[in-house]
Subunit: 240 residues, 2 copies
């Protein structure tokens, strides 16, 4: 029985897997809390903002522009329509600054992608605003390493099947690595591939999920430095 | 000399080529004008909004979310920071309604794509918000006809070269049809392909451009019904 190669294609999530992202959302949310301090206590404000983000996800999708619109909506709601235009202007400015923040690579990101790109097909698969994700990839300096880039509106088993068929040899010979169990790991496992969870210290509430139990293709790594060794073992299990 | 087939792949723009779009922007802009009537005359408001859209294009890209954010910014600007939160709330609602508007196909869109899909590879190439464009394609009922869909952040010769290489046999054997000379026609001609302009009665100010003069691969059609015949002539010139 010919089982080799088991694994041909490595998919990387981007935000909070290769570079910091949630940090910028949290900093902006702190600024939002200060801006609305006269109108709402922080806990209630956070709850209303999260509810707005959840409510608007189907219309706005993921990304900074929808987050900015949800902040403005929440500011109007919690103030009972009394928030001054100057505060709305500050929220707009905070959103625009998020779209200009520098890209800070996470530890081991460049070395890990470089090492894997030498032996496997590597694909970037990310959600968010199209232009913003393209900007971050360009600024990351990692763009040339990837054989393919997919900026998608959601991460479902169907999306992973299509992406790994297009850029690789199918999801069953693919591995997805990312910080979100909900978006990067569980749907990839459902698509028949490997899912590797590399947690980030911060996770957005809408991305939280329980880890799978007893799934043979699920792996957890504390950071990206250990990924090449894991991939090597999975790709040729009989050589190890 | 073997020149056949000359043309293998037809790229379609979406907004205002296959379905109405600018109409919804104009209706929303009229609503915006009424909302700000106490703060600005319509001509100045329109000028300031267009300036904001132009200024923000590099950060927001194309689409409804960026348009909504630019309307809010303009409302604050023209009112000298005096616009009430209730008006901002109305602008948010107007933007969300744009993201839910029904998709109305333009005349001959379905018949033309269907006819060409039977003989050529057909690809949808569109700008805008990822999720919104996916929604409109799904609602259009045309999704299954396309061999490929590319939602892109901008339309440049490089983008067309990559899209026609990926989904066809290269831009020089490709034809792009759309309502925007600036986005659909000129960069496709620059990429070495054919560019067919099918104007829509409404064109956004930032999409206007002069038609090319004396370019052998530029064509102009009054509506999509004439496209299959033109494509037939271009694909096999010696048979006609």
């Amino acid at each position: 029985m010919k089982e080799f190669p088991m694994l041909t294609t490595i998919g990387f999530d981007a935000d909070d897997t290769l570079w910091h992202n949630e940090t910028f959302f949290r900093l902006t949310q702190d600024r939002f809390t200060r801006l609305l301090a006269d109108h709402s206590d922080p806990v209630r404000l956070h709850d209303r903002l999260l509810a707005a983000e959840r409510r608007n996800l189907g219309a706005y999708g993921f990304g900074v522009k929808g987050f900015t619109l949800s902040m403005i909506e929440t500011a109007i709601e919690v103030s009972g329509g009394q928030v001054p235009a100057s505060v709305i202007g500050e929220i707009l400015a905070a959103g625009r600054e998020m779209l200009e923040h520098p890209v800070n690579l996470l530890p081991h990101a460049r070395a890990t992608v470089t090492a894997l790109a030498a032996e496997y097909r590597v694909v970037l698969i990310t959600k968010g605003d199209l232009l913003d994700q393209e900007r971050k990839l360009a600024q990351s300096g990692l763009g040339e390493l990837f054989d393919g880039v997919e900026i998608v509106s959601d991460k479902t088993p169907e999306i992973y099947r299509a992406a790994f068929a297009r850029h690789g040899t199918g999801a069953d010979q693919g591995l997805m690595v990312g910080n979100s169990l909900k978006s990067d790991v569980l749907p990839m496992l459902a698509a028949g591939g490997w899912g590797v969870h590399v947690p980030h210290e911060l996770t957005w509430a809408l991305e939280r999920a329980d880890p799978p139990t007893g799934h043979g293709r699920f792996h957890h790594l504390p950071d990206l430095s250990l990924l090449p060794d894991l991939v090597g073992k999975l790709a040729s299990p009989h050589n190890r």
